[in-house]
C-alpha cells in the first residue's frame, strides 16, 4: 500500500508517519506540505492512497479533493481535518472522499481507516455515522421532539439544561403552574417519566450543547 501524505504541519506529518509505521502493509511514498505540492506529487509518484489535510495553504479542502477525484478517479483519498465531523464531514464524503477523520482521532482510527479504504471501502467514524444518520432521516416527524410545539420545545430545553420550574416561568413570562403543565405534556409526548430521563434524551439527541 503506497501512501501519499499532505499536511502543512511537520509535527502532524511526523505523527502520521509514526502511526502508519505500525502497519507493515503501509509505506509512505511521498510527503507534501501544501495543496499544490500534493497535486504535483500525485502526478509524479506511483501511489495507491492519499491522506490529505483538509485545510492547507494554496489549493485545499473540497477544491483539492475535486481535482484529485477528477485526475485520479479510481484512487481513494482520505481526508484528515482539525475540524469536528459535524462541520465538514458529510460534505467531504459527498465530495468523493474515501473517509473523514478528525486529527485527534487519527492515532486510534487511522490504521483501521487505511485498511478499510485499501480494501475499496469507505471509512466513517462512529460519530460521523450518527451525523449522517440524522441527516438521512429527512422525515422530521420521526423524532419525538419534533412533535413538541415551539414553546414546549423551549421548556424542554430549559429543563434539560437544569433550570428550575420557577426560573423557566420567569424567563418565559409564564406562571409556574403553566410551566408544570408544559412539563407534564412534554414528558408524555416524549414517552419519559422524569427530568433525569429528559436530560438523557436531550443529550442523546444532541439538543443541548
Amino acid at each position: 500500500m503506497r501512501i501519499l501524505i499532505a499536511d502543512d504541519h511537520p509535527i502532524v506529518r511526523h505523527g502520521l508517519k509514526q502511526v502508519l509505521a505500525n502497519d507493515p502493509a503501509a509505506t509512505v511514498v511521498g510527503e507534501a506540505t501544501n495543496g499544490d505540492e500534493a497535486l504535483e506529487l500525485a502526478r509524479k509518484v506511483e501511489w495507491d492512497m492519499a491522506i490529505f489535510d483538509f485545510s492547507m495553504p494554496g489549493r485545499s479542502g473540497l477544491d483539492l479533493l475535486g481535482d484529485m477525484k477528477r485526475e485520479f478517479p479510481g484512487r481513494p483519498v482520505l481526508i484528515l481535518s482539525m475540524h469536528s465531523e459535524d462541520v465538514h464531514g458529510s460534505r467531504v464524503l459527498r465530495g468523493g472522499a474515501a473517509g473523514y477523520i478528525t486529527k485527534e482521532s487519527a492515532p486510534t482510527e487511522l490504521t483501521t481507516a487505511v485498511r478499510k479504504v485499501a480494501n475499496g471501502g469507505k471509512y466513517v467514524s462512529a460519530s460521523l455515522a450518527e451525523i449522517l444518520a440524522s441527516e438521512c432521516s429527512s422525515d422530521p416527524q420521526k423524532a419525538l421532539h419534533e412533535k413538541l410545539s415551539d414553546r414546549e420545545y423551549r421548556v424542554m430545553w430549559l429543563l434539560a439544561s437544569g433550570k428550575q420550574i420557577s426560573d423557566i416561568a420567569k424567563e418565559m413570562g409564564l406562571s409556574p403552574s403553566t410551566v408544570s403543565t408544559y412539563r407534564t405534556r412534554i414528558l408524555r409526548k416524549l414517552g419519559l417519566t422524569s427530568n433525569a430521563a429528559l436530560v438523557h434524551y436531550a443529550v442523546r439527541h444532541q439538543l443541548v450543547g
Partner: protein, 369 residues
C-alpha cells in the same frame, strides 16, 4: 463619540488652516445691468459668483452645482421667480438651497407669502442696500460652509467605522487561524506521540496515564476549536455564507433551545467581505432574539440572486418596542445598520409589541461602494 473623533484627528493630522474653498452663489435676474450691479456689490465677499438671465438658465445651473444661496428676481419674462423657486426646490440636489427674492416695488411685498411658500428664506427690496445685501449673503455662505464641514466629518467618521470593522475582522480571522492551526496542530502531534507511547506500554497503571493524557488533549482541542470558531467561524471561509448561516442557526438552537427553521438556497460562494458583513449582522440579530425577544421560534430565510442577497429573520417573541428600530440608542442595532451601509445595503426592523420582530437585510452583491 469623543474618542472616535479624537482618533480621526490622530489618524489624519490635517492642518486646520485648509485652503478656503469658494462658495457658489447664483444670481438670477433678466436684466444684465442688475446682474452687473449685484456682482459688483458681492465681489467684496470673494466667493464664486454665477449668473443666470432666466428661470430656465437658473434651473440648469442648479442641477449641476451646489449653491450656498440663490438670489432670485421675482419679475422675469417666461418662468417667473416664484415658479423658478418651486422648480429649484423640487430637485433633490437643490431642495434645501436657501433662496432670497429680489423685488422692485413695494406692492410686490403683498406676494411675499407666496414667496415663503415656495421656499424663500428672505426678501430684499430693490434698489438693495449694499451692506444689507452682503451681510445677508455672507450669513448663508457661512451656514453653507458649516454644513460642508459637517458632511465631511460625517464622511470621515463613516470611513473610520468601516476601517475599524475591517481591521477587527482581519484581526479575528488572524487570531482564529493562529490558535486553530498552530495550537491545534501541535496538540494533534502531541496526541499522536501519546498514542505511539501507549502502543509500547504494557503496565496498566502507565496505560491509564496515557489514556487520561489523550483525553486531556482531546478536551483541549475542543476548547481551541470553540475559541477559534467563536472568533471567526471557519465555515464562512471554507464553505461560504449559506453553509455558515445554516450552521449558526443549528448552533443557536442548541445553545438557547429556541427553535430555528431555515430556508436556504443551494450553497454558493461570493465576495468574502459581503459574506462576513451578512453573517455578522445575522449573529447580531440572533443575539438580540436570545436577549430580548422571549421568542420560542425563529424563521430564517436567505435568498441570493444575481445582484443582491436578502436575509429575513422573523421571531415570535414580544416584539421590538416602538422607536427602538432605528438603532439610535442601541449600539448593536447601529452596528448592523452601519455594516450593511458599507456595501450599500440596508437593514429594516419591523415589529409590534406582542407580535414578534421581523428583521430584513438586503445587500447588493455586485456593485461595491
Amino acid at each position: 463619540m469623543n474618542s472616535a473623533t479624537a482618533a480621526v484627528v490622530a489618524l489624519e493630522p490635517e492642518p486646520q488652516v485648509t485652503e478656503r474653498l469658494k462658495a457658489n452663489i447664483l444670481l438670477v435676474d433678466d436684466e444684465q445691468k442688475s446682474l452687473y450691479a449685484l456682482q459688483e456689490l458681492l465681489s467684496t465677499l470673494d466667493e464664486n459668483l454665477m449668473t443666470a438671465q432666466s428661470g430656465e438658465e437658473a434651473l440648469k445651473l442648479a442641477l449641476k452645482n451646489d449653491f450656498a444661496v440663490i438670489l432670485l428676481d421675482v419679475r422675469m419674462p417666461g418662468i417667473d421667480g416664484f415658479e423658478t423657486a418651486r422648480l429649484i426646490r423640487s430637485r433633490e440636489r437643490s431642495k434645501l438651497t436657501p433662496l432670497i427674492f429680489l423685488t422692485a416695488a413695494a406692492d410686490e411685498m403683498a406676494s411675499m407669502f407666496r414667496g415663503y411658500e415656495v421656499g424663500a428664506v428672505d426678501y430684499l427690496m430693490k434698489p438693495v442696500v449694499p451692506e444689507v445685501l452682503t451681510s445677508k449673503v455672507s450669513v448663508f455662505v457661512e451656514l453653507h460652509r458649516k454644513n460642508e464641514r459637517l458632511k465631511e466629518s460625517e464622511d470621515k467618521l463613516r470611513r473610520l467605522a468601516a476601517h475599524l470593522i475591517s481591521v477587527r475582522e482581519e484581526e479575528r480571522a488572524h487570531i482564529a487561524r493562529e490558535i486553530h492551526d498552530e495550537l491545534g496542530q501541535v496538540l494533534t502531534g502531541l496526541k499522536m506521540e501519546v498514542g505511539w507511547l501507549a502502543k509500547r506500554l504494557k503496565e496498566p497503571q502507565l496505560l491509564e496515564k496515557t489514556d487520561s493524557m489523550g483525553k486531556l488533549i482531546d478536551s483541549t482541542v475542543q476548547t481551541v476549536r470553540k475559541i477559534a470558531t467563536g472568533l471567526r467561524p471557519e465555515m464562512l471561509d471554507d464553505m461560504g455564507l449559506v453553509a455558515a448561516v445554516g450552521w449558526q442557526a443549528k448552533e443557536f438552537q442548541k445553545r438557547t433551545g429556541i427553535r430555528c427553521r431555515t430556508k436556504l438556497p443551494p450553497e454558493m460562494k461570493f465576495d468574502v467581505d459581503i459574506s462576513t458583513a451578512a453573517f455578522r449582522i445575522f449573529q447580531e440579530i440572533l443575539t438580540n432574539v436570545a436577549r430580548h425577544s422571549r421568542a420560542t421560534r425563529v424563521d430564517i430565510e436567505l435568498q441570493v440572486n444575481d445582484d443582491h442577497l436578502k436575509l429575513e429573520v422573523i421571531d415570535n417573541g414580544v416584539g421590538i418596542p416602538e422607536g427602538a428600530q432605528t438603532g439610535r440608542k442601541s449600539l448593536g442595532l447601529l452596528g448592523m445598520h452601519e455594516r450593511a451601509l458599507l456595501f450599500g445595503g440596508q437593514v429594516s426592523i419591523t415589529g409590534q409589541p406582542g407580535h414578534g420582530t421581523r428583521v430584513c437585510v438586503t445587500i447588493p452583491t455586485k456593485a461595491r461602494l
